[in-house]
């Protein structure tokens, strides 16, 4: 449980910030996906973007947890 909170929660917070910053700057209607203009509805694009960010951030958190020196790991992870 702790491990999952540590992986999913900070990544969620950072993903929310990244999502806001990214989509303020980039209009989803101007994105290209494999050379084709994105055809999803805006809300779909925003949502997929958010989960993309979350996934990337969660991967980073997971790796952090994994690489943490043994003595400092939370018990659930040892």
């Amino acid at each position: 449980m702790l491990k999952w909170i540590l992986v999913l929660w900070p990544s969620f917070l950072v993903a929310a910030v990244a999502e806001a910053v990214f989509f303020v700057v980039v209009d989803p209607q101007q994105l290209y996906l494999f050379g084709e203009p994105v055809r999803y509805s805006p809300i779909a694009t925003y949502s997929i973007g958010f989960f993309g960010f979350w996934l990337a951030c969660a991967a980073s958190s997971l790796l952090t947890l994994f690489l943490q020196p043994v003595g400092t790991r939370p018990p659930a992870h040892r």
Partner: protein, 465 residues
């Protein structure tokens, strides 16, 4: 808290003792409830307001506009959002330096929703004692009914919260239309459920654990504290030694302090700590223990305030109210306060000076410059003009900066309400007007209906060799 490198006693995660928090009344509880009402009326109410025939507050994701009553903000206005965030941060610093975790105790959504969920819980399952008993009894018809009612009520409340959340991003009237048929789009449905699940889990299940293990603010708020910060404190000198006694007994006559050791301050604490052990990082500053203890003091006919808002210095030096208040003004609060005032003024000034017309000039990249008849040189520009008010407006364009610069087809451009219009314009300059090379050129765009609104933008004009 622990030293670096040491293992934190996180086993609490798995073996968390479920808290049955006793409800409390009193003046701080009234403040807490006032803020619950205030914040939630705002939260649930705002999407229902209309303004100029549209939703008053809406982050319109599809249109990429943020409607805020009379104003419309565009992605280009993100600067104001950034300033607003900085402002909120300083406000948080300021209030934390003065009186600790005021935000946590009274206004944080985590506190507010937990308060509401606990209220529902108490209405359905009874007070803390009955809830504890219910927890221990094996599942039977009655327990099942109570549990179902509680989870159902929490669920409905969460769904309404999720629906409201989505209504900030997707127009409410469209959502309401789909509500009757449950025909929400797949993503709308998803986000309503997602936010509802979050509300339910945070306020119904996780509760104080969110503050303890998940909240970044809870971790760093300590650095804004100093010895003059008002925090919730148990007056040990007055209260100890603790012990039971009958009502009205003078404490000194039985060799005791004022604390009757009734434990009610612990029972009402939403984080389950004992404030009498001193300031602990789990304490969210909700002041429930103050209300609880004051009631005990009243019953015992002792003066109130055995647990109260006080400062480290005040306790050590036995300051009264006046001295504490005098120490509210100190370098730390002055600096935070000064930033707060400065940024607020800058923000207001920025908003007041914001023109509701914006012009972007893009040079036509295909042809830098072209020679046209009668010895003139032509440059082509694309103007993107953003009309930021909700009225149709007509704009006129002029050029200057180079002798003899003229605009071809200077027809006025009509911009729809709150929309961006684009125009391609050709500017001609006599070939001998200046040296070959690039020269500054100015576009002046003015609104016919609002004579005061003019935007002047610089670009360059190329004269070929």
């Amino acid at each position: 808290m622990t030293e670096k490198g040491e293992v934190r006693p996180v086993s609490l995660y798995s073996a968390r003792k479920k808290l049955h928090v006793r409800s409390v009344s009193g003046r701080f509880a009234r403040w807490r409830w006032a803020l619950v009402w205030l914040t939630q009326i705002l939260y649930y109410g705002l999407p229902w307001l209309t303004w100029n025939d549209r939703q008053a507050v809406l982050f319109h994701l599809t249109e990429r506009k943020f409607y805020l009553f009379g104003a419309i903000f565009w992605p280009q206005d993100v600067f104001y959002l950034a300033v607003l965030l900085i402002l909120s941060a300083y406000a948080l610093f300021f209030f934390t330096a003065i009186a600790g975790r005021l935000w946590c105790g009274y206004a944080c959504p985590q506190t507010v929703y937990t308060e509401i969920f606990m209220w529902i819980e108490e209405k359905i399952e009874g007070d803390h004692n009955r809830r504890r008993k219910l927890d221990k009894t094996p599942m039977d018809g009655r327990k099942f009914a109570l549990r179902a009612a509680k989870f159902g009520a929490w669920g409905l409340f969460s769904l309404w919260t999720g629906f409201t959340f989505v209504a900030y991003f997707s127009p409410l009237d469209e959502l309401l239309a789909s509500l009757t048929t449950f025909g929400f789009g797949p993503w709308e449905t998803f986000w309503i459920l997602f936010y509802a699940a979050f509300t339910y889990a945070f306020a119904g299940i996780l509760r104080e654990q969110v503050c303890e293990y998940m909240c970044p603010y809870a971790r760093f708020q300590g650095v804004m504290f100093d010895q003059d910060t008002l925090v919730i404190t148990y007056d040990e000198a007055r209260g100890d030694p603790r012990g039971a006694r009958r009502k009205g007994v003078v404490p000194a006559s039985v060799g005791k302090g004022d604390c009757t050791d009734c434990g009610i301050c612990v029972q009402v604490c939403p984080t389950g700590i004992d404030i009498r052990n001193g300031l602990q990082y789990e304490c969210i500053g909700c002041a429930a223990c103050i209300d609880a203890c004051d009631q005990v003091m009243d019953r015992m006919e002792y003066p109130r305030g055995l647990i109260r808002y006080s400062t480290e210095n005040a306790l050590r030096q036995h300051w009264g109210r006046k001295e504490i208040l005098r120490h509210v003004v100190r370098p730390r609060t002055l600096i935070y306060g000064a930033f707060l005032v400065l940024i607020t003024f800058a923000m207001i000034a920025g908003l007041a000076m914001r023109t509701d017309l914006r012009v972007d000039i893009i040079r036509d990249r295909a042809t830098l410059a072209r020679e046209v008849s009668d010895g003139q040189i032509e440059n082509v520009y694309r103007l993107q003009i953003m009309n930021m008010v909700e009225r149709e407006r007509t704009v006129e364009i002029r050029v200057d900066g180079l002798d003899g610069a003229t605009l071809q087809e200077g027809e006025p451009i009509v911009l729809p309400a709150a929309a961006t219009g684009a125009a391609t314009v050709q500017v001609r300059v006599p070939a001998d007007a200046a040296e070959p090379g690039s020269h500054p050129l100015y576009f002046e765009v003015s609104v016919r209906e609002d004579p005061g609104v003019t935007v002047r933008e610089q670009t360059t004009f190329m004269l070929p060799r």
